[in-house]
């Protein structure tokens, strides 16, 4: 029996200050870097390494952590 199809992502029109292409490029570049690191088996440098530039993973929240990017406007309730 044929499986049901997967839902496909719905793209919103409003992309803020970025163009859709800029976002696509950023996602692609970060994905490529991430895959390259996995391929090389490199461990991310820690943020405390003297003189070292922070790596993506070092500055990123761990899975399940508080998300780092708030929306501009805030509301408490």
């Amino acid at each position: 029996m044929a499986k049901k199809p997967w839902r496909t992502v719905q793209f919103s029109e409003d992309t803020g200050r970025f163009t859709r292409q800029q976002i696509a490029d950023a996602v692609r570049v970060v994905k490529e870097r991430s895959e390259a690191r996995k391929k090389n088996g490199r461990r991310p440098r820690t943020a405390g390494t003297a003189g070292a530039e922070r790596t993506d993973e070092a500055s990123a929240p761990k899975p399940g952590d508080v998300a780092a990017a708030p929306a501009r406007a805030k509301r408490e309730g």
């Binding site: 997967w6 992502v9 803020g16 570049v29 899975p63 998300a67 708030p70 406007a73």
Partner: protein, 207 residues
């Protein structure tokens, strides 16, 4: 063919830092299930009166996710905040008194503790009400379950898979912000949503 109304999910929740992990998890889950997350933070500088904008977004969304967990009394004002219950009421009112597609609206109500709503908002009994315990994994499961119920002809990733993907996105988010040249704490909702949508499209669920 789906219309924007059929995929629109109005997210009615706090927008402060304390709620951010749940907010991001909810936005990601809605997108990963093939729906479009919407909220009052859209078109922030549009000049549209806030309540008018909220009513317009509610009218444009078939689904609503309402988190009423933030009912604590504010330390300064010693008063609770009522925005989320107000917007839940607007959504239920649109479903009740609206016509045509407005009648098809579906809601998920989230609170932090099971059955706590009975003490402060008991009139909503009978709605789909679930507790997330302030944990993203629970919110992901509840949102996914609500949207899965709404879908007949499509498959959705399971809650564990969505959570795994959400965690992977969160790991890459700081780097995505650097690539786009925006400070992470200045990322607007529509930009976060666009990043999530593009990331999901670029990281399809393995079949």
């Amino acid at each position: 063919m789906t219309t924007p109304y059929e995929v629109g999910v109005f997210i009615n929740c706090p927008f402060d830092a304390r709620y951010r992990k749940l907010f991001h998890a909810t936005v990601f889950t809605v997108s990963d299930c093939g729906f479009q997350p919407r909220c009052a933070l859209e078109a922030e500088d549009g000049g549209e009166e806030r309540i008018r904008k909220i009513k317009r977004i509610i009218r444009e969304c078939r689904y609503g996710i309402h988190d009423i967990s933030r009912v604590e009394v504010d330390a300064k004002s010693r008063l609770p905040r009522f925005n989320m219950p107000l917007e839940l009421g607007l959504f239920l009112g649109a479903q009740e008194y609206g016509v045509d597609e407005q009648k098809e609206k579906r809601s998920l109500v989230l609170d932090s503790v099971p059955y706590r709503y009975q003490k402060f908002c008991s009139d909503i009994a009978g709605q789909d009400i679930r507790a997330h315990g302030d944990r993203p994994v629970k919110a992901v499961g509840a949102v996914r379950a609500m949207l899965a119920t709404a879908l007949g002809g499509f498959r959705l990733p399971g809650p564990a898979r969505i959570m795994e993907r959400y965690s992977a996105f969160q790991v890459e988010l700081p780097a995505l912000c650097r690539e786009t040249g925006v400070a992470i704490d200045e990322l607007q909702f529509v930009e976060l949503r666009a990043l999530i949508e593009t990331w999901i499209a670029d990281h399809p669920v393995a079949h």
